[in-house]
Symmetry: C2
DNA sequence: AGTTCTGATAGATTTTGTTTATGGTAATTT
DNA sequence: AAATTACCATAAACAAAATCTATCAGAACT
């Protein structure tokens, strides 16, 4: 029993005529005859009495007709449900980001998004960038707004949003605080408090020193940049932070002959379709980048 | 969008695999792939993300899946509604009969029918036999239990149930009351009260006299045999009635060299399907005939 | 690396659906 | 009454579609 047959049946019943139904369906009359007889065969029941020039529903036909409306409606609803997604943005949206980005870059985007799409329940996971990449890979989240990995990662699509220059910072009471410029070697003589290697930010910094063959004195590690900042500001060591985090209680040092930077951006799985919500969120981020 | 595709979609979603769905549907894997891609094209939406070895429903896919169950259920109900008719007897049943048959032949059948099929609403039309035939022709009634027309009538199927001999009857005070046998000519010398020509019974009687070239003195006419009987019994004229109606207040006369009879039976349209109720009623009548 | 899953794709084949042409029946017109 | 018209059913030719076989490419597991 196929929908085409049911539609033909409904049309014939409505017009009381095979030929008129055929016209209406843009088919020839024999095609309609066939569809009806297919139905009759499938249901093992006569649906119409053919009375010469006229036709009439049988009891079975009447029983079917009253149900066909239900079928057509449920099909229409199913189609509708899919098509509505093209316009509507609703349902849950899982994204990952870092505390730092969430605190410093997302607030305006988040509030704009919630305002324009109140139907979406945002579920934000604060994780390390590396964890975010893994969650994207297994489909646990749809989007990540994190430090971008240096280089491409298979199956994951990266979109740079913000360039985030990093800067060496020390407390005003730190021995190096008075210098305007420092070398890597000078830094290496003092203990450091840096982001862990689980974060791309941490890797960027470590790699930078590695490349220049400079061994670091590693102190405590944490992935939460705000905490890192606090530790540096109370003099527990020098650190490297986004230059935007500079403030009264920290001195920024220009690094001799080198600069470190990270790129913050949007990451999502190449093969997975983004939900409407995710697309809307991504679009909002792209617009917000410039502003 | 066809049901076959929707079923394939549901199977793929359920098994999380095209190949397993194919096995389940007794199809090859490419066939299932095609059905899904047909659906995706028709709905203009991707339904699954193909992630290498694994697949996952997209947002559109999830939206569709939740509706597919409704569709399948409504289709099942439609099929069920038709199939149930094969067993069940319910709904309205319109039949036609005469007052006389209703009064003298049907009571036992009607009560048996109502007892075994209480779900059927019987709608009985008391009409002349000729009207009954016309109503059958236009499909206003399904069955008629009436005096059968002499000879076949196109498109209508007749089934004799009872042989009903007719007899000339007069009141005990009628001039002919003392005779045992009378001739047509003798009868023609006295006024008659006979059924009208709209009834086959009336026609049978009139034709009988016509064939023998005997002119009748016609008095009042009525189609209701009980009334006719009353009129004859009070001496308004001779009449012809089913011999079963003979009683204390009437004398039956044997007609010289002729007998009149009518056949009562079941009539229905040849081309129209009988409802389950009508079939059941007809069957009951056939069984009751003998008893 | 090699093997074994996965689904997609291409081409041959089969099945199904559609059309054209025709026939039969009932209602309508001449 | 005969002819015409308006139906639907059927058959054969044709077109379209679905399916199968075979093969490919990618990912996951040995």
């Amino acid at each position: 029993m196929e929908l085409a047959s049911l539609r033909a049946f409904a049309a014939v019943a409505r017009f009381g005529s095979f030929s008129q139904a055929a016209d209406h369906l843009h088919l020839t009359q024999p095609a309609v005859s066939k569809r009806i007889s297919n139905l009759e065969e499938a249901l093992d029941a006569k649906l119409f009495d053919r009375l010469g020039r006229q036709i009439e529903l049988t009891e079975a036909g009447r029983a079917l007709l009253s149900r066909v409306q239900d079928v057509e409606q449920s099909v229409k609803q199913a189609e509708q449900a899919v098509r509505e997604l093209s316009g509507e943005v609703r349902g849950p949206l899982r994204i990952a980001t870092s505390h730092h980005i969430g605190l410093h870059r997302l607030p305006s985007v988040l509030s704009a998004f919630q305002q324009s799409h109140p139907q979406v329940r945002l579920d934000i996971d604060f994780v390390d960038s590396e964890q975010a990449y893994e969650q994207l890979r297994i489909g646990q989240i749809e989007l990540a707004v994190v430090t971008l990995a240096p280089g491409d990662i298979s199956k994951l699509h990266s979109e740079p949003l913000w360039d985030d220059p990093l800067m060496v910072m020390v407390s005003p009471v730190h021995p190096l605080a008075e210098k305007k410029r420092v070398s890597l070697t000078e830094l290496s003589e003092h203990p450091a408090v840096l982001p862990g290697l689980e974060t791309f930010t941490g890797r960027i910094v470590h790699r930078h020193f590695d490349e220049h063959g400079v061994k670091l004195q590693l102190g405590m590690e944490t992935n939460y940049l705000e905490t890192l900042r606090m530790m540096a500001s109370v003099g527990l060591g020098w650190t490297v932070l986004p230059s935007t985090m500079l403030g009264e209680d920290l001195r920024g040092l220009t690094l001799h002959k080198a600069d470190m930077r990270r790129t913050l951006g949007l990451v999502y799985h190449e093969d997975r379709s983004l939900s409407r919500s995710a697309s809307a969120f991504a679009e909002l981020l792209r617009q917000n980048e410039s502003g």
